[in-house]
């Protein structure tokens, strides 16, 4: 590592430069890392970074003064650094810039230098961001960006791999590795223009042939990619020139664009990531971080990628540690052992966060817990009994007692902020009287009901509340736990009563509706085994329509059929939380993702000596 000596820059001012007042979004400044060089203060070698003063928000007096002073001083420092770097025969001059917007920013006093642009004032600054340590509950099943469908790969692989179509903080579609795209009028031809200057972690430039290789691999059934069925409508992939990719579809497919944005399923990697035998060997992506090491069940280490096409990550790296126990994860966070915790238990997190060692951010998800009743098995084939069972359930009780208030009542898998949220009546309280009389009408008093719960998921309390409610109306409910595989195979058979599960990680409604309700769907059993021609018709129309409003209306009808059948019913959407250590600055959790276009982990900073 090359160090540049800067006279007069002491450790305190370096510390000041790295403190939250610059990194923190709350003061409106964002520290970005250009990785171009290093400078030396005392005995420490610290990375060079650039600061963008993007307006300044209100902050405490000291901080404001310090900010004013150092924003001016910064530029001076910058110039010095730039000068010393620039005069170095090694041509690694930092391409640094301070963009000043907003009236509060101080007037830059710039020592002129050829590497400093005077209009977008340039200022490389010391921000010694270190390695962020994160604690997560579940291990990565795979690091292959075409296979991983679980929550862990979905959350963390976007740090390494990027997709053709990107998502923003709200998980809405935005540009990704393709800057823009167009769809032919018949909906059969998609043309993507690739971003220029994107390199893989092995240094090679991204071009259309790489994209074609990835798509072909996903479509190939042998790969067993999780998006294979959705992308199977792609007939052929053409590459007229290195910057253009053309997809020819066999039929119009409205979910295609959002399917291409599913970061965990369709990440673009270099063909060398796969060994000669066709098996995934090492992940070479284009994202802001690169793989360093992975040990199963223990941790995944990532380093910042210094030739990233966008803003380089501020962090030196990210270490994702697998800490299955929620309380242990929370303790590690509050003692400062880790800087970031995924999925922290809400109630304890809230009370511990008051102590001030970390804060919690809500991880808004599209998710819904649900119970499905086997509509084919007597006596559950009687709609009156099913209606009674649904009426007996109090969603507000489940939210309050089952999830300690950290859940909201829902009857669908989408959250209120989503475009796909259906405006339907939501019954929050139980109607035990009606339920009891319906049970009597159905002649089903004393019917044994076995609720099968996935042993790894869900809340025992929620299952217990529902079972108790059913006992209240004259049924005899018990809870049985099953492994995921057992539960799936039970749902495919005929001999089950009720399944308690949840669906999540969904963006396009194809996954939320077709997946469950279509008569020949892989998970038809989980929704209670609905076989409805009308529903199938609606689902097919919805997946072929390209008008979102029309699709939403169709899905609303689909949900209505499910509601009228009393087959599957959603109860609550539990809140997800991430815990963020107080010394982490600049991080904002997106919907699902810790990395998205324009924000996330690569904009976070944690002091290096921490």
């Amino acid at each position: 590592m090359r160090c540049v000596e800067i006279p007069g820059l002491d450790k305190t001012s370096v510390g000041l430069l790295n403190k939250p007042l610059f990194g923190s979004a709350s003061v409106g400044a964002r520290v970005t890392h250009d990785g171009a060089g290093l400078y030396k203060t005392g005995h420490e070698c610290v990375s060079l970074t650039t600061i963008r003063c993007v307006g300044i928000a209100q902050h405490r007096g000291f901080v404001m003064r310090a900010f004013h002073r150092s924003c001016a001083g910064l530029v001076l420092v910058t110039a010095l650094v730039a000068a010393s770097c620039g005069s170095d025969d090694d041509s690694g001059a930092p391409e640094a810039s301070v963009e000043q917007e907003g009236s509060a920013a101080t007037e830059p006093s710039v020592a002129s230098n050829d590497s400093v642009e005077t209009d977008a004032t340039t200022a490389p600054v010391a921000a010694a961001c270190g390695v962020l340590e994160a604690g997560i509950p579940e291990d990565f099943d795979v690091l292959d960006p075409h296979i991983g469908a679980g929550e862990t790969p979905a959350t963390w692989l976007p740090l390494v791999y990027e997709t053709l179509v990107g998502v923003d903080k709200a998980a809405d579609i935005t540009d990704g590795l393709a800057t823009d795209w167009s769809i032919s009028d018949d909906g059969l031809t998609y043309t993507f223009n690739l971003r220029q200057g994107v390199t893989f972690h092995n240094g090679e430039m991204l071009d259309s042939s790489h994209v074609k290789w990835n798509l072909d691999r996903i479509i190939d059934p042998e790969t067993a990619a999780s998006s294979q069925s959705t992308l199977a409508v792609i007939d052929s992939v053409e590459t007229p020139d290195p910057a253009t990719v053309v997809l020819n579809l066999s039929e119009p497919s409205s979910p295609l664009i959002s399917a291409l944005a599913q970061q965990q399923r369709v990440g673009i990697m270099h063909p060398d990531s796969v060994g000669a035998d066709g098996a995934f060997a090492e992940g070479i992506g284009t994202g802001p971080f690169t793989f360093v090491a992975y040990s199963s069940g223990d941790r995944l280490q990532l380093d910042a990628y210094q030739d990233y096409w966008g803003d380089n990550a501020l962090l030196e790296g990210v270490e994702v540690r697998i800490i299955p126990d929620a309380t242990a994860r929370l303790n590690a966070l509050s003692t400062g052992d880790i800087d970031f915790a995924w999925a922290v238990p809400a109630e304890d997190a809230a009370s511990l966060a008051e102590d001030g060692s970390f804060q919690i951010q809500e991880n808004i998800q599209n998710r819904g817990n649900f119970f499905s009743i086997n509509i084919d098995k007597p006596p559950f084939d009687n709609p009156k009994l099913r209606e009674a069972m649904q009426l007996a359930v109090s969603r507000s009780d489940i939210a309050a007692a089952g999830w300690n208030g950290f859940a909201v009542e829902t009857m669908q898998p989408y959250n209120e902020t989503s475009f796909w949220y259906l405006d339907k009546e939501l019954r929050t309280d139980a109607d035990l009287e009606t339920a009891r009389s319906l049970v009597q009408e159905a002649g089903a008093e004393g019917t044994p009901v076995t609720i099968v719960q996935w042993d790894q998921l869900g809340s025992d309390a929620e299952a217990q509340i529902v079972a108790s409610a059913w006992n209240d109306i004259g049924l005899d409910a018990t809870i049985e736990k099953a492994s995921g595989a057992d539960l799936i195979s039970q749902s495919e058979g005929e001999d089950w009563d009720v399944i308690y599960l949840w669906i999540g990680l969904i963006t396009d409604p194809v996954r939320a509706y077709n997946f469950l309700y279509q008569s020949d769907a892989t998970r038809n059993g989980i929704s209670g085994g609905i076989q409805s021609d009308e529903m199938d018709q609606l689902l097919t129309e919805a997946s072929q329509s390209s008008d979102p409003d029309e699709r939403k209306a169709l899905y609303s009808d689909v949900m209505q059929i499910n509601l009228d059948l009393f087959a599957q019913f959603y109860t609550v959407r539990p809140f997800g939380y991430v815990g963020v250590g107080n010394d982490v600055t600049g991080f904002e959790q997106g919907v699902y993702y810790v990395q998205y276009q324009g924000g996330g982990m690569s904009y976070a900073c944690v002091p290096a000596d921490d």
Partner: protein, 293 residues
């Protein structure tokens, strides 16, 4: 303890006070054990509530509120009821494990000790092999293989604690088998089996009883641990380990919810240990210094 020290203490009057204290503790322990035993037997008669019936509107009631003597848990179940029914499971587990271990382990140990030779080698080495594993780990592995349930927990723990009984039983039988009454029994023409069962076994029964009572208390705590870890009794069944596990995420916000079952579990196990300690003193008078006088 050195006899002279004891005599001196008696002379100064210090010993009676200590004896009194020890007596009080022992009686208290016996009392707690009896209370849990009575709870276990008469649980349904002692409470009006259903241990598994949730009533979310009544969650987190304080002690004594609405007839809930010890309040309610996170989904509104009566805590006292759950503790009483938990006691039932505790005793079922403790006694079943102990009984299984004593029957199997006692028989194997007696056989090994009485016959000796190759039989002894095989039984002893097998027991050593099982004893080499930490009990909780072995129980976890067994329950993972068999699928978690109360029954699995009992079988796993019986396997874990059998070698302990084997060793005690074998040692006791070896101690007895050269005594003259054994020769006398043989001399009278009794078969080896009859000698062992009718004459030797009653003489090692005391030792087995003591080890059995130790197994009860150990089994209770390991089963609670198993259930806490999700490898034993499954929720919603009322079990003290399950009760702790269900509310463990509330340890900072509602510590009482976690501490109550934890305290009951600790008190019960401690009491059982004291009682079994006292029993071993009574049954083997050579060790007796204090006790329920």
């Amino acid at each position: 303890m050195d006899l002279n020290v004891l005599r001196r203490r008696r002379a100064t009057g210090a010993a009676p006070k200590r004896r009194l204290l020890v007596n009080v503790i022992n009686w208290l322990a016996l009392g707690i054990v009896l209370v849990t035993l009575v709870s276990a037997v008469f649980a349904p008669l002692l409470t009006d509530f259903d241990p598994n019936q949730a009533s979310p509107v009544d969650r987190f009631l304080a002690w004594g509120e609405d007839g809930h003597l010890l309040g309610t848990d996170h989904i509104g179940r009566d805590l006292l009821t759950r503790l009483l029914f938990g006691a039932r499971l505790v005793w079922i587990v403790g006694l079943s494990v102990s009984l299984l271990a004593i029957i199997v382990g006692g028989a194997l140990g007696a056989m090994a000790g009485y016959i000796g030779g190759r039989t002894d080698d095989v039984v002893s080495r097998a027991a050593d092999a099982v004893l080499a594993f930490p009990p909780l780990l072995l129980a976890l592995v067994l329950s993972a293989v068999m699928g978690p349930s109360t029954r699995t927990g009992i079988i796993a723990l019986a396997i874990v604690y059998t070698p302990l009984v084997v060793r005690v039983s074998r040692a006791a039988v070896i101690g007895e088998r050269h005594l003259s009454y054994v020769d006398a029994s043989r001399g009278l023409g009794n078969s080896e089996a009859r000698t062992l069962i009718r004459h030797v076994f009653p003489n090692v029964g005391g030792a087995l009883f003591v080890v059995g009572s130790v197994v009860v208390s150990r089994a209770i705590i390991v089963e609670a641990s198993l259930s806490f870890l999700g490898a034993g009794t499954q929720p919603p069944t009322s079990n003290w380990g399950v009760m702790i596990a269900e509310v463990r995420e509330l340890i900072f916000s509602k510590p009482g919810q976690v501490l109550l079952p934890a305290f009951v579990l600790s008190a019960t196990v401690l009491s059982l240990n004291l009682v079994s300690d006292f029993l071993s003193d009574r049954i083997d008078p050579r060790h007796s210094q204090d006790g329920l006088a």
